[in-house]
């Protein structure tokens, strides 16, 4: 049974690595947009890789997007707070930048496009589109909520709320 679990983890490694790599690129790219300095950008990339790796692992283990996003944000936030010695006071900002690649902007776009289509549709078959759009919208709210909760709960619990 342990062999099977190890084999399953090894099988998902390439995909995990792919997601972590592009999570790192996305986090560092947005870090540049947010004007993070050179050293902090490296930490943003590390945080992005960690967040995406944990989220992908959570989803591969059968977790929902929302649950996996919460877990990933919480792990990233905890790791950043525990690394405060090296990251300095910017640890919370770095954890946030690492979680930016998990913000479900594409779902938001999908939901709004669906609503626009329904508003302009002349057929009676709009129910599936409405349901799809509402589902996407609910996923956006719950995933953003999960990321925000995952980031802030460790900060409250570990009393890392300094200025």
């Amino acid at each position: 049974m342990i062999d099977a679990a190890v084999a399953a983890v090894l099988a998902m490694l390439p995909y995990l690595g792919h997601q972590a790599l592009f999570g790192a690129i996305a986090a560092a790219g947005f870090g540049v947009l947010f004007n993070f300095g050179g050293r902090a950008l490296i930490w943003c990339a590390v945080a992005g890789a960690l967040a995406l790796a944990v989220r992908t692992f959570g989803q591969q283990c059968g977790g929902s997007l929302e649950a996996a996003s919460f877990l990933a944000a919480a792990v990233t936030s905890c790791a950043a707070i525990l690394s405060r010695r090296w990251l300095g006071v910017a640890c919370h900002a770095i954890a946030l930048a690492g979680c930016i690649p998990m913000v479900p902007g594409a779902f938001f776009g999908q939901a709004l496009l669906g609503f626009m289509w329904v508003a302009g549709a002349s057929t009676d078959h709009t129910v599936p589109a409405i349901v799809g759009s509402v589902q996407a919208f609910v996923r956006v709210i719950s995933t953003v909520g999960a990321i925000g909760a995952g980031l802030t709960i460790p900060a409250y619990l570990l009393r890392s709320r300094q200025f």
Binding site: H18, Q19, F22, G23, I25, A26, A27, A28, G29, F30, G31, V32, L33, F34, N35, F36, G37, A40, L52, V89, A90, A93, L96, C99, I100, P101, V103, G105, A106, F108, G109, Q110, L112, L113, G114, M116, W117, V144, G145, I147, G148, A149, L151, T152, F163
Partner: protein, 269 residues
């Protein structure tokens, strides 16, 4: 007959009020800069409080709106309330943390309001920013990476990178011209999605719609959306709600641009 002239009497109350006014102003400036550069309301209030207390006065209250920041400071029986306008909200990590550092230094005392004001001006002038070409390239790379995370195929990678990079470049120019942020979101949504979609089609991608969606992800306000939640959790639901509405509005305009691009390219979701 000459009468001895009395020295002019100085009323201490206006003097104290003038002093309080200067302190309130510099505390408001710190709160304004923090608010405009991505800090949560709690941090902006804390920064203003540190400045005021470092200058030896008590903060009796602070209040933040989306476009204004107010503070009441006092010493003894003298109090004063002042308000400042908050400009466009953005994210500038280095300026944000440089101002927090200044607030920490000022909170220990030993600085005058004039010194803090000149230090704030210096920080706003001299805090380094990445060059626009690098920001455009990095944003393009981030959106292309987002596309890969969403499942876009390899042929669409370079088109997404180019589309989002150009979108960021144009956004930079439009912001400099003072155009409304929502209008910018619609324009950039249309331009980036059209270039991304056309490029992906020319490169033989099988995920053209995903490429178009990923090309506009530079417009998704990730920091404000998490800040909205932080503000509500910290006890500032008004500001949190305002941020959430702002995020929704930006997305509506960005997706309007995307919808126009899909119509132009005759792609039907």
């Amino acid at each position: 007959m000459n009468t001895p002239s009395n020295p002019p009497e100085i009323d201490p109350v206006p003097v104290r009020h003038r002093m309080l006014e200067r302190i309130a102003h510099v505390a408001l400036e710190v709160g304004r800069i923090l608010s405009q550069n991505g800090a949560s309301v709690r941090v902006a209030h804390e920064g203003a409080r540190m400045i005021a207390e470092g200058l030896g006065v008590e903060v009796l209250g602070t209040r933040s709106g989306y476009a204004s920041f107010e503070i009441t400071v006092g010493t003894g029986r003298n109090t004063i309330t002042r308000m400042i306008q908050i400009g466009p909200h953005g994210v500038n990590h280095r300026l944000d943390f440089a101002v927090r550092d200044l607030a920490l230094r000022a909170s220990t005392g030993g600085m005058t309001p004039e010194q803090i004001e000149s230090e704030l001006a210096r920080l706003q002038r001299e805090t380094p920013r990445h060059p626009p070409w690098l920001v455009a390239l990095a944003t393009g790379a981030a959106c292309a990476a987002f596309g890969r995370l969403l499942g876009a195929d390899w042929p669409s990678f370079v088109p997404m990178l180019v589309a989002a990079g150009l979108g960021q470049g144009v956004r930079h120019l439009l912001i400099q011209r003072g155009i409304n942020v929502f209008v910018i979101a619609a324009i950039i949504g249309c331009i980036a999605a059209t270039i991304g979609g056309l490029g992906a089609r020319l490169c033989g991608s099988g995920t053209i719609e995903l490429a178009m969606m990923a090309s506009i992800l530079l417009l998704v306000p990730g920091v404000p959306s998490t800040n909205a939640q932080t503000d509500i959790m910290d006890g500032y639901p008004t500001m949190g709600s305002a941020r959430a509405v702002w995020v929704i509005m930006i997305m509506v305009f960005a997706v309007t641009g995307l919808w126009i691009a899909e119509s132009l390219l005759r792609i039907h979701a």
